[in-house]
């Protein structure tokens, strides 16, 4: 049986809530799959949608965005902007044919280590079921044959086709 597909998921966390939730999952030894790799930002508001595109285009199969619950942001209200960006981003990605399950937003307070671990586990299984994204493949194989020669027999073929 071929080796099961192990998705790579990039997780963006906010320093005050979800990163500490991840730490708490650690100190309480709550297990979750190793497919996720976390990046610490000062706030979920720091997340530029470009980061998500770069992650997907760079080989990640899914992106998990986490932050404080609305109203509990250390910087008071910045996670509301995160929610707005995420909502517009998810719709744009759908037009690029990226399944909504690949990019998710989860609020996790500093006390919700176990819950974050569960959400990570759930996402890994969902993305595993969707299979690899391999965006480079999408860009590379554009389904076109090498240059269709206009006049195969004419002498300037070499010049053009070289």
């Amino acid at each position: 049986m071929s080796e099961p597909f192990e998705p790579v998921i990039i997780g963006f966390t906010c320093n005050w809530c979800s990163y500490r939730a991840a730490d708490l999952a650690g100190t309480s030894r709550v297990k979750y799959p190793p497919n996720i790799r976390l990046i610490r930002l000062m706030c979920s508001g720091r997340l530029d949608p470009t980061f998500v595109l770069k992650a997907l285009a760079g080989g990640a199969d899914g992106v998990l965005i986490t932050g404080c619950h609305p109203g509990e942001c250390h910087y008071l209200e910045q996670n509301y902007k995160t929610l707005r960006r995420f909502t517009l981003l998810r719709r744009t990605l759908a037009q690029f044919g990226i399944e909504p399950e690949r990019v998710r937003l989860v609020w996790a307070s500093a006390a919700e280590g176990a819950r974050l671990a569960v959400e990570i586990g759930k996402m890994v299984e969902e993305v595993r079921a969707l299979g690899p994204l391999n965006w480079q493949g999408v860009i590379a194989d554009d389904g076109d044959p090498p240059i269709a020669i206009y006049h195969p027999q004419s002498e300037w073929v070499q010049g053009v086709a070289a």
Partner: protein, 349 residues
């Protein structure tokens, strides 16, 4: 430089609309100067040149070659590769060549879907046999050949090495003339050429700097399509709920569209500091969308409110990547099995 010592000028149009040629001719009487300075080596739009003429030129014969239009089919690709070999300076002229522009919007769907939309389920088509264009078609007279229609539209720099780029759809005549003057100075009086890869004929900051409309702190409850509201004159269009790509678009055009009440479409492309114009505009729009809550609010209600506000932006990918799809980080939609969600234009349905 051959026989008569005049530098050779070429202008070719790949998958284009001809607007760039018109804009070039719009430089007015300066066209006489161009004619005086340059020898036209290849300008199919205004003079009857043939491909074999270009094939006859030695490599590098053309001093300045302006190519507009995206690379949509195999003929476009062949011609731009040919012109690359025959030209010293190759310029990606206009948004199509620079970043894909309108043609590249078809990257959100597939070749088959595009052909079906044009030749089969098109309201005004009469094609009972359902024939689709084929690269080779055998007819009594012989073998008919037409270029191969690519699945993905590419910008010029994704096919050949480009020396300079002039953004805009089309580039403004005064910007074209400014660039030509620099090139003419370099070619004739030995002036220095700008460094390779530079963007010419544009500003360095966003369109807002050139836009005369009054700008304030922005908080927009919802967005409108241009036909839905009549904007107040003199006030920033974005603040009134019209999507204006100005903040994320390079200046240089003098903010023509916003001055007449039409939100900037983003045709001069992204700012130097931005890697993906679509995402820059998406995050800008999200920042001014006036939907938030207070501590203790119900999270589901908040999400519903944000979704409702986002519903007023009908086609995010098409709107934010209208001109820069080929240069977007994702470049095209993934269509293997997953039917790309091409939004039906609201007007037709």
């Amino acid at each position: 430089m051959n026989a008569n010592g005049k530098p050779k000028l070429a202008m070719y149009w790949a998958s284009a609309c001809g607007g760039c040629e018109i804009s070039t001719l719009n430089i007015g009487e300066h066209i006489l100067t161009v004619d005086a300075v340059f020898d036209l080596a290849f300008f199919p739009c205004i003079a009857d040149f043939k491909v074999k003429d270009v094939l006859g030129y030695p490599d590098g014969y053309i001093d300045l070659c302006l190519i507009n239009g995206a690379i949509r089919n195999s003929e476009n690709e062949e011609m731009v590769r040919l012109l690359r070999r025959k030209s010293k300076l190759l310029v990606a002229f206009g948004s199509c060549a620079y970043e894909g522009c309108i043609p590249a919007l078809s990257n959100l769907t597939t070749r088959d879907a595009t052909l079906r939309a044009a030749y089969l389920d098109n309201p005004s088509i009469d094609n009972p046999a359902g024939t689709l264009p084929q690269p080779h078609t055998a007819v009594p007279e012989g073998d008919l050949e037409i270029p191969f229609f690519y699945h993905t539209v590419k910008s010029l720099d994704q096919v050949v090495d480009v020396d300079y780029t002039i953004p805009g759809c089309p580039p403004e005549p005064h910007q074209i003339w400014a660039v030509l003057q620099v090139v003419v100075a370099a070619l004739t009086q030995g002036g220095s050429l700008p460094p390779k890869g530079v963007l010419l004929g544009a500003g360095s900051v966003a369109v807002c700097e050139e836009c005369a409309l009054a700008k304030h702190e922005k908080a927009v409850a919802r967005f409108y399509r241009p036909y839905q509201i009549r904007p107040e004159p003199g006030l920033c269009l974005l603040e009134q709920g019209l999507i204006c790509m100005g903040p994320a678009t390079l200046s240089g055009c003098g903010a023509l569209c916003p001055q007449v009440g039409m939100g900037c479409r983003g045709c001069y492309g992204p700012l130097p500091g931005a890697e993906d114009q679509g995402m820059r505009m998406l995050t800008a729009i999200a920042s001014i969308l006036d939907v938030s809550g207070r501590p203790g609010d119900n999270e589901l209600d908040l999400e519903r409110k944000v979704e409702a506000a986002a519903d007023t932006i009908v086609d995010p990918a098409g709107t934010f990547y209208r001109f820069s799809m080929a240069h977007s980080l994702l470049r095209r939609a993934r269509t293997d099995g997953v039917e790309a969600a091409v939004p039906q234009p609201a007007v037709w349905s």
